[in-house]
Symmetry: C2
Subunit: 422 residues, 2 copies
């Protein structure tokens, strides 16, 4: 059964309680141990007390509880020749609690299991054409992949405590567990648990752009706290990360960058409006403008990511652009200009510290960045804007499934009482 | 001396303490008393204990502290013929702690004092042309107005605990107390305290759009939690309210709606870019398009708000539109279309529950709303969007100065320990 579900808000507006305090301090202690690099030197309970500003007695009680819940482990340190009694070293466990991330893409399924340190331990990816197929069938295939990934994780001593599924669609805030609309899959109002073999292990769906953005934030070398993450695949999505949290909007629809009007009287979009960004910078639009028509993937998984010969359209664009193919270069320049226009609106409205080009855009960044930067430089003039604030994602297409897996770990770190007492 | 300064973050990432708990519970109790309508029936300590879910002993201790800090008062209730001992009724004081709001507009200065219940008790407004005049001179005049408003408040038994100044410009998150840029005043990098006669009473500057939005949120009959508030005066600003808080952006520049590119190859803007919203929906653009040229206000305050004969440009537009003047109607329609385009981008990105037309737009709403609604209906198609989610502000031009005054009160409500012990 899934222990770690959607965020429990332990703050709220009610009075503060001793339990709230305990929960927060468990989180503070677990965070302090996680932030320590175990390769530098052992971390003792006394060290933790100094770092977090609680008494040694309080920290010891919190550490005992975290060990009991399977989050921490405490080992005898090897004698190192120094004077004094042998120490004991705390670390976050690399066995036990884990998070499963799943992803349904237009042409693939993916799974990832991370341990409590956030480290990926299991990666699986299956190329598979999912567009236009019944949601139940796609979810059944995803459940098979999930079961295989969990079995592999069990073999590593990991126990999955929460499951999150990245989907290229809109997941409203309410009701939970439902994909409202995933146009590139052809889904409308799909309840994930309704199609999952065992409802107890049904994953919680989340928009892939949001998860990609969180992965970027959680795994970046130097994270900025407030940024816009563009997540292109077949469509264009974006996520707003504000102070390290995804802002989902009043109903969960925030970040629909693909339907920003960049040319108000321009090309008619499938959504009914004119001049949406997706008509200039979406994958289909760029391929069309470049005069390229990759073979349609068959239903049995004939497209492999990163292989232009096997019909991966992004790899094809990168290959042609790299070879100096003029129509492809012009198409990417036009896409970059349109993307720059839409991002200028985002910068004016949101004032982010950074803009990240993620998903498939990360693989095309070499050709997109110059025109996006040029457009931003022309448009964003009433506030300081550094060209370096726009950068490609280091995670690219792997972001969403990694973010899905790490979501469970982040919830546990914020509230270790989500873990059962051992 | 100003007791209530910029937000103290009592949450942070450190461990939770007993003091944090006490502070939060003081706030919860004060909030419960403030939420009670004293006209219905007296509110006792026991009633509060039931409402907030704390023990009667805990509530009594918290109430004693709130009385000591001058936030609450407890009166003997008049005998009402019921059996039992006479009760005692708690209420938020209408004397004592107060907040001063100030505003510098392009053609006026304003001041407002609110009591701890949030009720305005002093209103002052002076018509005065401020554009292009030295910041020091404008701030000296503002300080005079502030002193007069505080003197009037003292006569009512009110004691100003915090001062906030609404300015039509960008106020960065850091450093505090500085207006970075107020183009319609001609200000660049103005430190308010540097020009204030007594630095101890220097107000904290804040963007007027942000304060107008907060006023809307705090005073609305039925507030939505997440909305975009457009605040037009000489320029066009906007504020994003997210879960009841203004989102200021990474540096304090969020909400620059006036520079959203609505026609990428359109009219050149003063900012250097092309096709900014302000070139289509700004006051100067609408007047130009309508063929109207109101007399320029002289330096000695010749323009009175709401008086078209005295040169108030918004009143002039409303008068002409009301009289069916075709060029004015066409100019407002064009402005509404452009505003609708920019707001469509905001809706796609932010997914707000509502859009509010504030500032001078509130007075022109009758003529703007139809074209803004039409544009939104055409553009926002991938999410549900109700026409009624767009509405004019009830506060209009009074919003920012009211929000400035209430800011201090909201801070006290969130942390009553900001008040000195009596």
């Amino acid at each position: 059964m899934t222990v770690v579900g959607r965020a429990r808000n332990s703050q709220g507006n009610g009075p503060a309680s001793q339990q709230d305090m305990r929960r927060r301090n468990l989180s503070v202690v677990l965070g302090a141990v996680a932030a320590h690099n175990p390769l530098t030197r052992p971390l003792s309970r006394a060290d933790v007390a100094v770092r977090v500003g609680l008494t040694r007695a309080a920290v010891s009680s919190l550490v005992d509880e975290l060990i009991g819940r399977g989050a921490l482990t405490e080992a005898e340190t090897a004698p190192d020749g120094r004077v004094g009694r042998p120490g004991r070293a705390l670390s976050v466990r690399d066995q036990g609690p884990a998070g499963l991330g799943l992803e349904i893409g237009v042409t693939h399924l993916a799974a990832c299991v991370v341990d409590l340190r956030g480290e990926p331990r299991v990666w699986r990816r299956v190329e598979r054409a999912n567009a236009g197929r019944p949601a139940g069938e796609v979810l059944a295939a995803t459940a098979e992949l999930a079961a295989a990934a969990e079995a592999e994780a069990r073999g590593l001593g990991l126990s999955v405590e929460g499951r999150v599924l990245a989907v290229p669609g809109v997941v409203p805030n309410e009701p939970a567990g439902r994909v409202e609309r995933a146009p590139n899959l052809g889904w409308h109002t799909v309840g994930v648990a309704d199609h999952w073999p065992d409802p107890d292990t049904a994953p919680e769906p989340e928009n892939e752009a949001n998860l990609g953005a969180l992965a970027e934030y959680w795994n970046a070398e130097q994270a900025v706290e407030t940024f816009v993450h563009v997540s292109a695949d077949a469509g264009i999505g974006a996520a707003l990360v504000i102070d390290g949290q995804v802002f989902r909007g009043a109903r969960g629809f925030a970040g629909e960058l693909g339907h920003i009007p960049v040319h108000p009287d321009g090309i008619r979009c499938a959504c009914g409006a004119r001049g949406c960004l997706e008509q200039y910078a979406g994958q289909a639009a760029v391929l069309r403008e470049a005069g390229l028509t990759p073979p349609c993937p068959g239903p049995a998984g004939s497209v492999a990511a990163g292989d232009p010969a096997a019909g991966d359209p992004v790899a094809l664009l990168a290959e042609r652009a790299g070879a100096g193919h003029a129509p492809t270069l012009a198409a990417l320049d036009r896409a970059g200009r349109a993307l720059g226009l839409a991002l200028a609106s985002a910068v004016e409205l949101i004032d982010p510290d950074g803009l990240v080009l993620g998903g498939t855009y990360a693989e095309l960044a070499e050709w997109l960045l110059p025109s996006v930067r040029a457009e931003l430089a022309e448009r964003v003039t009433v506030r300081p804007w550094a060209p370096a604030a726009l950068r490609p994602s280091a995670l690219g297409r792997r972001g969403p499934v990694l973010g899905a897996a790490q979501t469970t770990i982040r919830r546990i770190m914020a509230d270790p009482t989500l873990l059962p007492v051992g």
